[in-house]
Amino acid sequence: MGLLSDPVRRRALARLVLRLNAPLCVLSYVAGIAWFLALVFPPLTQRTYMSENAMGSTMVEEQFAGGDRARAFARDFAAHRKKSGALPVAWLERTMRSVGLEVYTQSFSRKLPFPDETHERYVLGEWGVPGPRAHLGGRGLGWVSPWRVSWGQEAQWEGKSLVGIGGLEKGGLQRPTTVTLRSPPPYCIQMVSGTNVYGILRAPRAASTESLVLTVPCGSDSTNSQAVGLLLALAAHFRGQIYWAKDIIFLVTEHDLLGTEAWLEAYHDVNVTGMQSSPLQGRAGAIQAAVALELSSDVVTSLDVAVEGLNGQLPNLDLLNLFQTFCQKGGLLCTLQGKLQPQDWTSLDGPLQGLQTLLLMVLRQASGRPHGSHGLFLRYRVEALTLRGINSFRQYKYDLVAVGKALEGMFRKLNHLLERLHQSFFLYLLPALSRFVSIGLYMPAAGFLLLVLGLKALELWMQLHEAEVGVEEPGGAPGPSVPLPPSQGVGLASLVAPLLISQAMGLALYVLPVLGQHVATQHFPVAEAEAVVLTLLAIYAAGLALPHNTHRPLSCRVVSTQAPDRGWMALKLVALIYLALQLGCIALTNFSLGFLLATTMVPAAALAKPHGPRTLYAALLVLTSPAATLLGSLFLWRELQEAPLSLAEGWQLFLAALAQGVLEHHTYGALLFPLLSLGLYPCWLLFWNVLFWK
């Protein structure tokens, strides 16, 4: 406390902060980046270890031998699915019942805010007759939807249950007057409905108070049949065992994550996303852990594990350790972010490869998307991960038995759990499957970056304060001081307009695209999803032109009374604090996002001022705006995946990512879109204001 009350030391400190501000800021920024890069080197990255006692050893004997059965199930499932064009609910029910499960179904429907173009949720055949669903992946934006849906028609559709069972009549729809048909006609509408099927294996040794989940998300395309086959074969095998102390739920969801979300909401009896679904008939106690499975081939070369969930949430590290130990035991090749783990951490190669994996994880976590249906379980405090079977050109392949054995081992170990997984880390970064960095070690990286903002803010405050009270205050001793300016309030009042305007822009960015899509589709030749994305970009760009013109009348008044610099300094001070606050909060909840945004936004924010090379600063600011960061991340991501993007592809991907971001906010409650539009974009506009302060 001596530092705060002793005037001599305070004065020295103040002088230090003022004089050495620029070098300190640079140093701090470099230290932050360097710290992050150093995370992959051994003293900072540690070996993972199993903390949970109950899962301590892998001493279980896996007896699963149902490889043929799994393949047979998978073939049947694929055939039935092809025939019905949707999830073969009746077949699934019958099969699950035949292997001895308690079977229930759940139907759900969800109206999307606008059509989802990357996953064709629901595709109508020509002229609105429900036909076989066609996979339209990779089409992206750029097609024109022939259906202009008016609200009245939608209401009619809803009433007739759009499930692909044939409730839609030809007469219910009108042919639009201008149709630009492409083949196949990708009609898509916003109503998604489907059915989840799940079977419960009741534990013979306990009273249905706890459960585990094995889930297979089925999309509209015909992948994942092998996963369903393996799930059924495992269910048949598990049914014969006597040692289960937790119920096991085998869940097959339709429409990938939408089905999972509907099921989870119904299971926990909440409604957070506006999903309409039938209530669940059967439950099995609190879910302790869940594994999602994605397999699309009879043999795999490796298993990829995905941990990043909704809003960057991660499962307990022990679950990942469990997977890894069973992979090791069965000799399965497992990858993280599609990367094998480096063997040698002593030389430079290992850490460098680790850095690639780490960066990929940071990018995926920062996106806040659920990467696999496990991501939605995490919100309900269910530890979960997704296993993906990869079938590459590698020579040595594993069949379904090997995968099944690993899953059996994991479930038997999870069955031993006495309490929720809580012993190990929840906040970590993974440079490799067997290496992790814990929160205490990676947080300083973000801390150093935020320190830059703090230092800048302190400098500005001191400059402002000196201008106000003369030399007296920082030292604490009264000197010959200028009379206290009575117009402190005016300085603040000049900030209100830019603040309000930029916040209003943020609000417009958040609300208008989805609200205005119908207006846009009526007046321009675009589809709804395109309309949303284009409106988004238009408002974003309009924000750059708008605010810096409007504060002028207000700022003039300030200039006349006080030093000319006061206005922008005060605005920058507020903006710096605002940014630091937001980044701090984000870094705590989702380190990757916070760090990524801090890395890009901090330098431009610290530099922004209305003097000097303005065009340079403006270019820097634009390059580090949230949208540019997103675009840059997309390129970096594909670069790290060794599939570099061309510019045009990158742009298409960017547009698709924008649409996905908005859609995921509305369907799953992902927070990235509101964070960017309501928080960081207005804050960034403030810096833009500072730059063009007159």
Partner: protein, 417 residues
């Protein structure tokens, strides 16, 4: 000056009425920062239903309010919202007039001292003018209305309800209160006692610090009857015991819950004493140091109570923060106001974030939340001591002159030791 006040009141009441009807009300009333086990409205409703069933509301471990509250709301339960609004508005009005009177007193005293040549010659810029003091009462009323109405009153029994039960005269006729007293500042003190009574009143043990100064200052004994209503009606000791012994360890923004959740039961009594002593500890030294300035003393006391009481809420913090405009003239002497403001803003943002991480996401734990609680309270303590030091410095400069020189002729500095 009445028009702006009326405008403030109208806006405050409108905003509150809107908030009560929005979905935000439910959200806020569940927030741990806003609700304390002692004053939560939910618990009052529970107590009321117990009363309706003919069971003593104190028989469970849920209800800890005073019997006057429960009887009041027994009749007014349907109009609770209205009661909250009215009491809040009345408090704002009372504070407005009280501060106005206080300003007059301060000004009169300053004039007297100037005439008596008690001030150093070069302190002209420290002298307060009626112009700069003009809007202070309005600012206080504004600050009293708004943060309270946003958070506290939606879920809590507002900080302002109990005094009206106890001492209807005080808030309703503040000027009368002032004039009937022999000493005007003491009359005001009485008024403040009424207004901030609830903050101190809830953990009843904490009432003492207010009693102490009033006695120490030769206070009008009339204020004592504020406390008489704790006449044992039901098992009233419940309410007192609750505040003192801290049995309910629901997390809040205070310092008690974590510590006592971690501690072995065996030591709990000792540490309860150690923790509770903080509230009382500073009273006597402060009373001695500030015997000339009872209102500032009051302000410091409210702040200390808000920091160290066993179940604080943001309502308590907002109450003492509403007085900041009164001490606007200390601004130039505050040293760390920027850093401390930042700390407090950061903490108030991190409360919900870490609460979410701990309770909903499950990825953080109670240590994270408590760390922020600790930082928040350290920030508050530093802020209050900054104000205290600034006040002392101003007083010193007033009597010794603004431009002090050390013995060797250089510029001197005041050091707090």
């Amino acid at each position: 000056m009445a028009a702006p006040l009326a405008l403030v009141l109208v806006v405050a009441v409108t905003v509150r009425a809107a908030l009560f009807r929005s979905s935000l009300a439910e959200f806020i009333s569940e927030r741990v920062e806003v609700v304390s086990p002692l004053s939560s409205w939910k618990r009052v409703v529970e107590g009321l239903s117990l009363l309706d069933l003919g069971v003593s509301p104190y028989s469970g471990a849920v209800f800890h309010e005073t019997p006057l509250i429960i009887y009041l709301f027994h009749f007014l339960i349907d109009y609770a919202e209205l009661v909250f609004m009215i009491t809040d508005a009345l408090t704002a009005i009372a504070l407005y007039f009280a501060i106005q009177d206080f300003n007059k007193v301060v000004f009169k005293k300053q004039k007297l001292l100037l005439e008596l040549d008690q001030y150093a010659p070069d302190v002209a810029e420290l002298i307060r003018t009626p112009m700069e003091m003009r809007y202070i009462p309005l600012k206080v009323a504004l600050l009293q209305c708004f943060p309270q109405c946003y958070f506290s009153c939606l879920s809590d029994i507002p900080v302002s309800v109990p005094p009206y039960l106890v001492c209807p005269r005080t808030p309703l006729s503040p000027p009368a209160a002032v004039h009937t007293c022999e000493n005007e500042e003491q009359g005001l003190l009485d008024l403040f006692l009424g207004v901030c009574h609830d903050v101190c009143g809830k953990p009843s043990g904490n009432r003492l610090p207010l009693l102490l100064p009033s006695q120490l200052l030769g206070f009008h004994p009339r204020s004592l009857w504020l406390y008489c209503w704790v006449s044992p009606d039901f098992k009233l000791s419940c309410a007192v015991k609750e505040g003192l012994s801290v049995p309910d360890l629901t997390p809040n923004i205070g310092l008690f819950w974590y510590f006592f959740a971690e501690m072995f039961e065996h030591f709990s009594l000792f540490f309860v004493c150690v923790f509770q002593i903080n509230v009382f500890f500073y009273t006597i030294p402060l009373a001695i140091k500030l015997k000339e300035h009872p209102i500032f003393f009051m302000f410091i006391q409210i702040a200390i109570i808000a920091i160290f009481k066993s179940y604080p809420t943001v309502g308590d913090v907002a109450l003492y923060m509403a007085f900041f405009p009164v001490w606007n003239h200390l601004y130039r002497f505050l040293r760390n106001i920027f850093v401390l403001t930042c700390i407090i803003i950061v903490c108030s943002l991190l409360f919900p974030v870490l609460w979410h991480l701990w309770i909903y996401a499950g990825s953080a734990n109670s240590n994270f939340f408590y760390a922020i609680t600790l930082t928040f309270n350290v920030g508050q303590i530093l802020l209050i001591s900054d104000y205290f030091y600034a006040f002392l410095r101003r007083e010193y400069y007033l009597t010794h002159g603004l431009y002090l020189t050390a013995k060797d002729g250089t510029e001197a500095m005041l050091v707090l030791k």
